[in-house]
């Protein structure tokens, strides 16, 4: 088991390298010169050259990549071109907020999905089953930025129950003042994972219930509660794997929802960085999100291995 963990962590290193290379390339291949965003259009050629040199943008790309990577490894993501503040600090705050939003949405989606999927699987063909499947399809298909706006209209504009934008004043704290800001974006973001988990859990439960060993369990006289324990333990590895990967997508994919709700997370940071051609912020944020995705993948694999005895030898 320990060797497996070490091996998996070592595998993550080349992936991280490749990811950072792609991040770097994409930012530099994209059209537009960052200098344009920093200097006024009428700046003299000397000023442009000087600024270009200051930011290291005059060196060949491979050298720039090497220098950037060298700094990143030491935890130095450089300074933002837009406001001259260290990227790392901004990134920490934003990533924390995004993680808060994504994990709340993930927990919400997972719980809803497990309940609906479980009921649908056990009572296959019933009205509850058809409603759960309908919800799942709707959840996966609805564009969540649109859903977010609908929620804002209903709960903020018409009813006035919840705030439409922001994450509350100052630093995040677990009080109603802050939590009420979290509700709408989290619910909006949870719809996709809820739909996916519903479908997954329903399928897994159906598959498990059709297996021979369920007849064995009934033949032992086990009560429904014990049967449920068996089904849950069999369904857990697949369901948790799907949810873990979804959390990864939520971390990176919340850009639109964060924009709709002006949630100050990585999505908003990226959005601003793209429009300001803020290369250090762009590179740093993309890299951190990608690394979180890789880490979650690793965690999913490890959890799955821990839960399913059949995978332990692999």
């Amino acid at each position: 088991m320990i060797f497996y963990i070490i091996r998996r962590i070592l595998y993550a290193i080349p992936i991280a390298l490749a990811v950072s290379l792609v991040c770097f390339m994409l930012v530099h291949i994209a059209p537009g010169d960052p200098i344009d965003a920093i200097l006024p259009p009428d700046a003299s050629a000397e000023t442009v050259a000087m600024v270009r040199k200051d930011y290291g943008l005059d060196k060949p790309l491979p050298v720039q990549f090497g220098l950037w990577l060298g700094h990143v490894v030491q935890g130095d993501f450089g300074l933002s071109l837009a406001n001259r503040r260290p990227v790392l600090n901004e990134l920490k705050v934003a990533a924390g907020r995004t993680f808060l939003l994504a994990s709340t949405a993930a927990v919400l989606g997972f719980v809803i999905g497990c309940v609906l999927g479980g009921v649908a699987g056990v009572f296959r063909g019933s009205l509850a089953d058809r409603m759960a499947v309908g919800f799942a399809v709707a959840g996966i298909s609805v564009p969540h930025y649109w859903l977010g706006m609908v929620f804002v209209i209903i709960f903020s504009v018409v009813l006035g129950w919840l705030p439409a934008i922001g994450a509350g004043p100052g630093e995040w704290a677990w009080n109603w003042l802050h939590i009420r800001h979290l509700i709408l974006p989290a619910v909006t973001l949870s719809v996709i994972p809820a739909g996916l988990v519903t479908r997954t859990v329903r399928g897994v439960v159906l598959e498990i219930l059709s297996q021979d060993f369920v007849t064995t369990l009934r033949g032992k006289g086990l009560r429904s509660l014990m049967l449920a324990v068996h089904v849950i333990k069999n369904a857990a590895p697949t369901s948790i794997a799907v949810m873990g990967l979804q959390l990864g997508y939520l971390m990176g994919g919340s850009i639109l929802v964060e924009t709709v709700f002006a949630w100050p997370g990585t999505g908003m940071l990226l959005n601003q960085a793209i429009f300001q051609r803020d290369i250090p912020v762009l590179q740093g944020t993309t890299l951190v999100l990608a690394m979180i995705f890789v880490t979650l993948n690793l965690a999913v694999d490890l959890v799955q291995t821990a839960l399913d005895p059949r995978m332990r030898r692999a």
């Binding site: 021979d212 032992k220 006289g221 059949r310």
Partner: protein
Amino acid sequence: MDDLLVRARQLTVKFARGQGYVHAVSGVDFDLRQREVLCILGESGSGKSVTLRALMRLNPPSKTIMSGTLSVGGHDVVAASEHRMSALRGPFVSMIFQDPMTSLDPVFTIGQQITETIKRHERIGGSAARMRALNLLELVQIPSPKRRLDAYPHELSGGLRQRAMIAIALSCRPKLLLADEPTTALDASVQIQILFLLREIQQEMGMGMIFVTHDLGVAGEIADRIAVMYAGRFIEEGPVESLMQAPLHPYARGLLGATVHEGSRGSRLVTIPGAPPDLRHLTDACAFAPRCGEAEPVCLEQLPEFRRPVPGRAARCVHVKDRSSATAETVSVGSVG
């Protein structure tokens, strides 16, 4: 009649399928006494497994319609509540399933799967249940049982898994053990070991046993009585020796002729032409008549009643002489086949 474990009269099991029904079992009568081993012999789809599952009411509840009389240990299985049935499963009647690869929960250890059964039916502590599980693994002769208690099913070979399956079935000392082709999925060399083990344990614990198989050799090895099943009905019943030596029903003779056994050395194996009937459209005729070489017009008209040429033997065939109706003629069953 106190030693009667099972009493089935006109037991019928049908499954709802689409618009109609599949008549899996259509009117089966039999008794099983304590310590007796009955073997139900038949080909795939003859209804033998369904009959066996009906005894524990393990057929899919939503689609199954059971009728007739079926009492297991004095309990009315057709009418009992699900709660009552589940209390019966384990301490009174339990089953060994065909495929040990799929019949054990893959994410629970062997020990957990045994102890949960014991804990369900008895007030017993964790360590005592574990001791019982260990003893059971010793009983079914699993080597290094202590280690195997914490093993998962995939870590055991097919033969060991089937032994574990037997241990689970025995965990609450049932009075009636049902075995659904327990050796079919195993290697030939392992089959005979499991068979001997089952017979030994059955005699040791004094259980009644119903054993379902399509393998005549297996039936001859383990049974006291054999019932041959075809298209959802028992078509012949009798003590193992006489039935194996001189089957009465043409289908039973066909089965014997199509199998390698002691009497068949030197002679060619014969197959039965045709295929079993469609159980969705069953008529009130002898179901075997369309495949039978000895069929007569009357066979296609009505279902023959059981005829009893000698005490203890019976067959549903018009060619078999019924002792009660046969007065002057001497019945020479022994020479048939």
